[in-house]
Symmetry: C2
Subunit: 341 residues, 2 copies
């Protein structure tokens, strides 16, 4: 069906040179006289030749392509990250192939295989480097395997190993500070809502627990303040409404979707926001400002992290094997809105 028809031999014949010369022209080699270059380019311009990437790849074993793996693209955070990454990669002449893995190990593994089989030059994993069930045992095994083939970059996840590089945001600190500021404003019962056991979710939980302990709560009490919910506005609301002895005046959520569920809960309870209850979301996504009241949220600088990640990829791919630090951290920023005092 896809018939390119015109190949390098055609161009060579039509412009009266050898295929080597055509190849040189295509690749901008400097060992071509201006005259023949022009001659060849004219022919190409006329008949519209595009090199066959398969043939190129076969010889060079590279396709100038980066694979991006996300658990699901139908998520604000993921899709915006992909958009940033793609924009940045294009600038450097790289295309990207997307893999939508789902949250389960098997999907991730299969999609990683798929991407590798397409001879990507590097692999980017966005978020969720853990299996959905929280197990970590061999969850990272497939990542290490991938890293034997191409450099692997992880955005907001963490796996140590040869040829693996991570860019993370300081989630632990951000949640700790958010919780601490609530405490400072006199909140007594703060809970943390999350739907995930991902690396990043765990960091947030740690930040929450640390803040709770810092005001004298027992470890168990701090842990009990963590409530697992589904990543769905109405389900969060309903789950909280169903918890009869839930008494809280502060909520921190691991993403904005959940935070909005919390807002709906508070509204359903007839509480005043932020007087009766403060709520802080995460990711500072469009969702945060779509709600009324608009939700205070922690911005994790996705764009910055993505840009930085691409820069580092290029350092490895283009440039020499200059040593890169295997992990960099970016601080988060609290964006105050109407759900906090």
């Amino acid at each position: 069906m896809n018939k390119d028809a015109v190949n390098i031999y055609d161009i060579a014949r039509m412009s009266g040179v050898s295929i080597a010369t055509v190849s040189r022209v295509m690749n901008g080699s400097e060992k071509v006289s201006e005259k023949t270059r022009k001659k060849v380019m004219d022919v190409i311009g006329k008949v519209g030749y595009t090199p066959n990437v398969f043939a190129q790849g076969l010889g060079l074993n590279t396709m100038h392509t980066v694979g991006i793996l996300v658990p699901t693209i139908a998520d604000q955070y993921m899709s915006s990250a992909v958009a940033y990454l793609e924009t940045e990669l294009i600038k450097h002449g790289y295309d990207c192939i997307l893999g939508n893995s789902g949250f389960d190990m098997e999907g991730k593994q299969k999609k990683t295989e798929m991407l590798l089989s397409k001879h990507i030059d590097s692999l980017i994993l966005v978020g969720s480097t853990y299996a959905g069930d929280g197990s970590d045992t061999n969850a990272t095994e497939y990542i290490r395997a991938a890293a034997k083939r191409v450099p692997v970059f992880i955005i907001n996840g963490n796996v140590n190993g040869e040829n693996i590089y991570a860019s993370v945001c300081e989630d632990e600190k951000a949640v700790y500070e958010a919780a601490t500021s609530m405490l400072r404003r006199g909140r007594k019962n703060i809970v943390f809502l999350t739907d995930s056991h991902s690396y990043s979710a765990n960091k947030k939980k740690n930040g929450y627990e640390r803040a709770m302990k810092s005001v004298g709560k027992a470890a168990k009490e701090a842990k009990d303040g963590i409530i697992y919910v589904e990543n769905h506005i109405h389900r969060v609301r309903d789950q909280l409404l169903a918890m009869e002895n839930l008494k809280c005046d502060g909520i921190i959520a691991s993403n904005d979707m959940i935070a909005i569920g919390a807002v709906k809960y508070a509204l359903a309870k007839g509480m005043d926001i932020p007087e009766d209850i403060e709520i802080i979301g995460y990711n500072n996504s469009t969702l945060a400002i779509s709600c009324a009241p608009e939700v205070t949220s922690i911005d994790n600088h996705t764009e910055e992290i993505c840009k930085d990640t691409v820069d580092r990829i290029m350092k490895i791919l283009d440039g020499g094997e200059e040593k890169l630090s295997h992990k960099i951290s970016v601080p988060c920023t609290l964006i105050a809105r109407e759900t906090t005092m």
Copy 2:
């Protein structure tokens, strides 16, 4: 960097057969004795051989890959469409390559080239088949060019031509009915908010205009009810607030983001929703329920359309050249929530 090392010759040698036999085993040819098949599979299982897709593609000129082009993946509608498409394509053994084109013609054209150069078996365009400025002159030229190479499928867009297939939703009708129902409830001043000149946006505008005319409004008046805004919650709100002589008791928006901007406007004005003003969004996305009050929205059945599109692609790719209708329509559904009576 990416060293597969083990190739078909290795496997052939290790299992004491010819490369042709290995190839037959890999491709499930029936002309292989059970014994040798097993022998080869054992070796493959042991050393982990994966065929080089370049080499395969060179010979076969297909990569079992479909290209998906979106103006931007950082958009609820687009990203969910991509997720549906990808899920469906995988089931049929096809991978997908994503192209993020931007809304301008040049980007679309370049990205289309990129995707085609990757030897996709088919191209899917999601939404926005028009140039951002509303011009249509040669906007569709690149699509027709692409269609000469592979079958092109358009989701929620419209281009006629050989080898081009479109799946659209009945936007015109949906908006007409939404507006009509508002009118029936006694609304006098209904406006339509949009940020786009896309095919689908134009259909919605037509539906609005038709509804207005049906209650005796002049053509000009109907046209004046269409207000162009930016696709950003706060900017929509501010733009509406800035229109001093805007008096309306009904708003229909071409997507949920804009609808929420309208909600914010109404709230800022101190209006009661839906008593003083009714608001209807479009796409029935997560945004619609993230707002308070939750926004009535028109569901355009993205999942259904995507599934259907993939089915049709497969009919063409796998099956024979059975004739497909070049355009199918799916009706929309109004999901009533708190912003309408």
